[in-house]
């Protein structure tokens, strides 16, 4: 049963990746590419919140980490003149280090209190960006973040002034994320992380350093938020404090829950469905939150495992019919 599920996940994943690579070749519409890029960036973020979610913590600091990634990358390229290609990983690492410092004391806090403390952290970050004008540009944020510098691969000169190259860039970062997360899921680390919320008492009694594992998950999540932030800043070419508030963390949570947290497909499906829905409903913008809210409630009521549990659910429904 379990194996069958895994192979299905793999097949769908391969299908998605293949279409991700091929689609822009047939459908070059910049608007379409734009939406895909947004979906990719949000998927990376959602993966980051999911890895902490499986340890039983709802990390509302993810929105703040996204912002920190964006600001770091903007500052590194604009003020220090670094190339985007260095500032991308550097932002990931910087945010990971930040998460290590922040995470160590706060990961003792549990449940609703953890949600609140991480909300608080995002909010404190935001006030810092707004107050520290010289560094972060104040309430307006930082404008004129450069697009990634052109690169030459195999004799090809790629410039990032158009959407297509950025599409592939975001796709590559997303693929990297999926690869890492999939490995993680199937490794002992993944099993250990998922065991944490089940019984801390048992884990402690057999010598599992709980705090350390939670910190690892928290830092990994933050690393990917940092990468996503860097992409964000260089795609939109600005970093503004209004974009990185606590509701972002709730949107990530929403995508993760709607997609389902059991397998790596969940975050991608959640982001794909809800973000493209945003676009479909663009003419009825004011109705979008209502539709989102209703979908969310519907999923929680009838599909608590998220979209990825749909086939299973259908299967059991069919079986039940046959009986």
């Amino acid at each position: 049963m379990k194996n069958k599920n895994t192979t299905w996940t793999t097949r769908i994943l391969i299908f998605l990746i293949a279409s991700g690579i091929l689609l822009p070749m047939v459908h070059k519409d910049p608007y379409f590419l734009h939406i895909c890029i947004i979906i990719f960036i949000w998927s990376i973020l959602t993966f980051g919140i999911r890895i902490v979610l499986i340890t039983g913590h709802l990390n509302a600091a993810q929105g703040g980490f996204l912002g920190m990634g964006a600001y770091f990358s903007a500052i590194l390229t604009m003020k220090l003149g670094w190339s985007f290609w260095i500032s991308l990983p550097a932002s990931g690492l910087a945010v990971a280090i930040l998460a290590m410092i922040v995470g160590y004391p706060i990961l003792r806090v549990k449940g609703a209190y953890f949600v609140m403390i991480t909300f608080g952290i995002t909010e404190v970050f935001r006030q810092i960006w707004m107050m520290w004008k010289d560094m972060f540009g104040g309430p307006q944020g930082l404008f004129g973040v450069p697009k990634p510098s052109p690169i030459d691969i195999a004799g090809l000169h790629i410039s990032f002034s158009s959407k297509m190259p950025f599409y592939y860039l975001a796709l590559v970062v997303l693929l990297f994320t999926v690869l890492v997360m999939r490995r993680l899921d199937n490794s002992r680390l993944g099993i250990t992380l998922r065991s944490l919320p089940q019984s801390e008492m048992l884990s402690e009694s057999i010598g599992i350093p709980i705090l350390l594992y939670k910190l690892i998950a928290f830092v990994i999540g933050a690393f990917f938020a940092g990468l996503a932030g860097s992409l964000w800043a260089h795609y939109f070419t600005y970093a503004s404090p209004d974009d990185f508030n606590w509701t972002n963390s709730l949107f990530m949570l929403m995508y993760a829950v709607i997609g389902g947290t059991q397998t790596v497909l969940g975050p991608i499906l959640g982001c794909m469905l809800l973000l493209s829905l945003d676009e479909v409903l663009i003419e009825f913008q004011e109705y979008t939150p209502i539709v989102l809210g209703l979908i969310l409630i519907f999923i929680l009521f009838y599909l608590p495992g998220g979209l990825i549990s749909l086939p299973q659910k259908m299967g059991s429904l069919l079986k039940w019919r046959k009986k």
Binding site: M116, V124, L253, E286, P289, I290, F301
Partner: protein, 293 residues
């Protein structure tokens, strides 16, 4: 000196409103263990209720303006309590045990409530004035009657709440459930009724906060977002489930905000509030008077 007193008055009003909102949240959290992200939206509904009943006169209320205003506030509380009870029954109750589901479902609710009010009433801020106009003067120091009315109403409501919880049968039952749900279950208490009561009163408290603030500032679909965050800080400060804690926490947060924003600016004020939150949770991971969840 004048600025000091003025800030103190403003802080008092801010604190009292915050205390109303926070005690509602506190009640819902303490009794049902529901972390209600949409609590701010009930506050927002309160603002719209006062606007509809008093300013737009959707019901043919009669009498002098002050009487009509008070009637409007009461009507608003009842209506919002009713909405809250339905929401709890239909949406929230089944997710009570799961923090993740509750967060997600109340977030969904928040989106729906904000967008619906936006669609029905439009984006523009609704400004209206309460019947209490003019200033009370004490020497060279003035306070608007509007604010005074808000302060007095808040105090009256908190006293009523205190009386209800400590002196009435249902209030005592609610306290029993908050303290020890299992024992209360054994004693055969009617949980359905208690939950409905808690949600109704909790939402009514948020609504009265919105209704009192409405005429002083303005009413719009997003007015609930900031107060609910502060209310969360308050109940963590005061301890989940403790009303006295909510009162103390409300004053700490409200006064901190008023004084820091007057003397250092609003950004510092928000930061100060959240730094208090972070500090408290670091020292005591379950809040000041909290117990393991």
């Amino acid at each position: 000196m004048d600025m000091l007193i003025q800030t103190f008055i403003n802080g008092t009003m801010g604190s009292l409103i915050l205390i109303l909102v926070a005690s509602g949240l506190c009640m819902i959290f303490g009794i049902m263990h529901i972390v209600n992200f949409a609590h701010g939206e009930f506050y927002m509904l309160g603002g719209f209720g006062a606007w509809l009943f008093f300013d737009q006169e959707v019901l043919p209320l009669f009498g002098p303006p002050a009487f009509r205003y008070i009637l409007s506030v009461i009507l608003t509380m009842v209506a919002v309590a009713f909405i809250g009870i339905i929401v709890e029954r239909v949406l929230l109750r089944r997710f009570r045990g799961s923090l993740q589901s509750i967060l997600v479902v109340t977030f969904g609710l928040m989106l729906i409530m904000q967008a619906s009010t936006l669609i029905i009433f439009g984006v523009t801020d609704k400004a209206f004035s309460s019947p209490f106009q003019g200033y009370l003067s004490l020497g060279n120091f003035h306070i608007s009657q509007e604010r005074m009315a808000a302060i007095i109403t808040s105090i009256v409501i908190m006293l009523l709440l205190y009386f209800f919880i400590n002196k009435t049968k249902y209030g005592k039952a609610m306290r029993a459930v908050a303290q020890d749900a299992e024992a209360a279950l054994v004693l055969g208490m009617n949980f359905n009724l208690i939950f409905s009561l808690a949600m109704g009163i909790g939402c009514a408290l948020a609504a009265v906060g919105g209704a009192l603030v409405g005429p002083i500032f303005y009413v719009n679909p997003y007015m609930g977002v900031a107060p609910v965050m502060k209310a969360f800080v308050v109940i963590i400060l005061g301890g989940a489930g403790s009303l006295l804690g909510a009162v103390i926490g409300g004053f700490v947060v409200g006064m901190t905000e008023a004084f820091v924003s007057t003397y250092f600016g609003t950004h510092f004020a928000i930061m100060a509030v959240f730094l208090i939150l972070i500090f408290i949770l670091l020292v005591k991971p379950t809040g000041v008077f909290g117990h393991e969840e």
